[in-house]
């Protein structure tokens, strides 16, 4: 499903972000990627969603060589993956309903199907009542749930979540976590979750990949507590 082979990333400003990353994630897995600030987590996400191109090596997601995509083809590739960002990235001038249905309009889905599916995912994330609200009228947790709803609306095979609980209080975080687990369980969606919330990682144990200074320093199939310098 996701396969990185000997991936290096060096930015134009000379910063080396990733060294020789080898990673394989199978269909239906739920994987944490943890590590301190500057360990290369965000770069890994950017390589996976096509925003950055690896300096060396190949990034393969759902059978597509992401680094070789042309600029105009990147959005089409992204229809296969859902991405949830820490800063939500909702369209400020669209309502919650429009934000979610936008992801379905772009794949030319029929209008009645869009409406039905949008209501379905709004129900799934518990935002039934907020369809006509604009993002600025929602709390952080609600915005994050709207972003998750948008990411899963077109039933992607892979869901990448970049610090989805980073801006939320513990209660909210548990809610979002429960939601992601539900998506993973019910739809069989492969989930890659970047976090540095260790309490969360210990509470909901899953395969955990540890990044430090651009290297994978641990890949724990059972998950659990990991000691690292913050």
């Amino acid at each position: 499903m996701i396969e990185c082979t000997h991936v290096f990333k060096k930015y134009k400003n000379g910063v080396n972000a990733l060294y020789d990353i080898n990673l394989k994630v199978d269909q239906g897995e739920f994987v944490y990627i943890i590590g301190p600030t500057g360990s290369g987590k965000s770069t890994l996400i950017k390589l996976l969603d096509g925003e950055e191109i690896p300096t060396k090596g190949t990034v393969n997601v759902v059978g597509i060589n992401v680094g070789k995509l042309r600029h105009s083809k990147v959005p089409i590739y992204r229809r296969n993956i859902g991405v949830v960002f820490q800063d939500f990235r909702l369209l400020p001038s669209k309502t919650v309903f429009e934000n979610i249905s936008y992801a379905l309009e772009v794949i030319n889905m029929r209008k009645d199907l869009i409406r039905r599916r949008t209501r379905e995912v709004m129900n799934l994330v518990g935002l039934d009542e907020k369809g006509s609200s604009f993002p600025r009228e929602l709390s952080g947790g609600q915005q994050q749930r709207a972003a998750i709803a948008r990411a899963i609306a077109n039933r992607p095979k892979v869901l990448i979540a970049d610090e989805p609980t980073g801006n939320l209080d513990p209660g909210m975080s548990d809610e979002v976590m429960a939601l992601l687990e539900k998506i993973n369980r019910e739809y069989g969606t492969t989930i890659l979750m970047v976090t540095h919330d260790l309490t969360m990682v210990n509470k909901h144990r899953k395969r955990t990949i540890v990044l430090e200074h651009g290297h994978i320093v641990a890949d724990l199939a059972e998950g659990g507590y990991v000691r690292h310098d913050q």
């Binding site: 969603d49 096509g50 925003e51 950055e52 191109i53 600029h71 105009s72 990147v74 959005p75 089409i76 992204r78 229809r79 991405v83 960002f85 990235r89 909702l90 369209l91 400020p92 001038s93 936008y102 992801a103 309009e105 772009v106 794949i107 030319n108 209008k111 948008r150 990411a151 077109n154």
Partner: protein
Amino acid sequence: MISRIFRPFKEGFRGVFRHGAMSLSAATAVTITLFIISIFMLFTMNVRQFTQGIEQSVPISVQIDYDHESAEQEGAIELAISEIPGVAEIKYYSKAEEFQYFLDAFTDERTRAAMEPFENDNPMHDSYYVEVSDGTQLESIANQISQIPGVFKVNFGGASATNLISMLRTIRFGGGILALALSILAIFLIQNTIKLTILARADEIAIMRNVGATNGFIRSPFLIEGILIGALGAVLPVAGTYYGYRYLYNFTDGYIISQMFTLLHPVPFVKYVCLALLGIGMLVGLIGSFFSVTRYLRWRR
């Protein structure tokens, strides 16, 4: 399928209203520049009208020899003149008419009485007055006419007439260049404003790509939005031009200073100017947003 065609329009309209303040500022830039363009258009078109009017009213007078005054001979001369390229109009005046015209120039009775005996021994010539379509050809046409057998004398005002015409050309050309330069300047101004309004939405464009929208899908509503803003900005200049020019025309009775500077009649002239303004507004809005969106589509991968 149909909703897919209408989507950019719906989204474009919505975009204008949801970003009301930005739409308004961009539309204001359009309004100001269109007002300037409007004034220049009215000015240069009218100057064009004046100068062409003056140019065409410089005629060549052709006097016929006394021994070529038969109707047949004069007909041949008229035909020969009309065959010269660039001749717009030919008017015939008999020597009697010419004499009358000459006589009418004197107002005091004594001079008139002194002149009248000449009516029976008329020293005037039968004449043609030739108007040309292009003032710069005045001299060469005059020369060609003088070659025609039976032509006694050709008169066209000489160097002063050609100088006047070349001066009028310069005014017209200069006015045209100025209007063109101003329009280009206006387009840059508008494009910059639109670029700024879209810059505020560069994030939005990146998010759209994030959720799988292709470049064309993102671009089309922005283009409609640009056209709408252009049209919106054209409302005041169009209204101002339409009513303003009519008012000016009525106020001045259709001419400035003398009959030589006749203003173009508002119908249909002012309608064309208004259509042109609306067209320029919409086109500039379209071009401006096209370039701006394309730029921000490339901002992030």
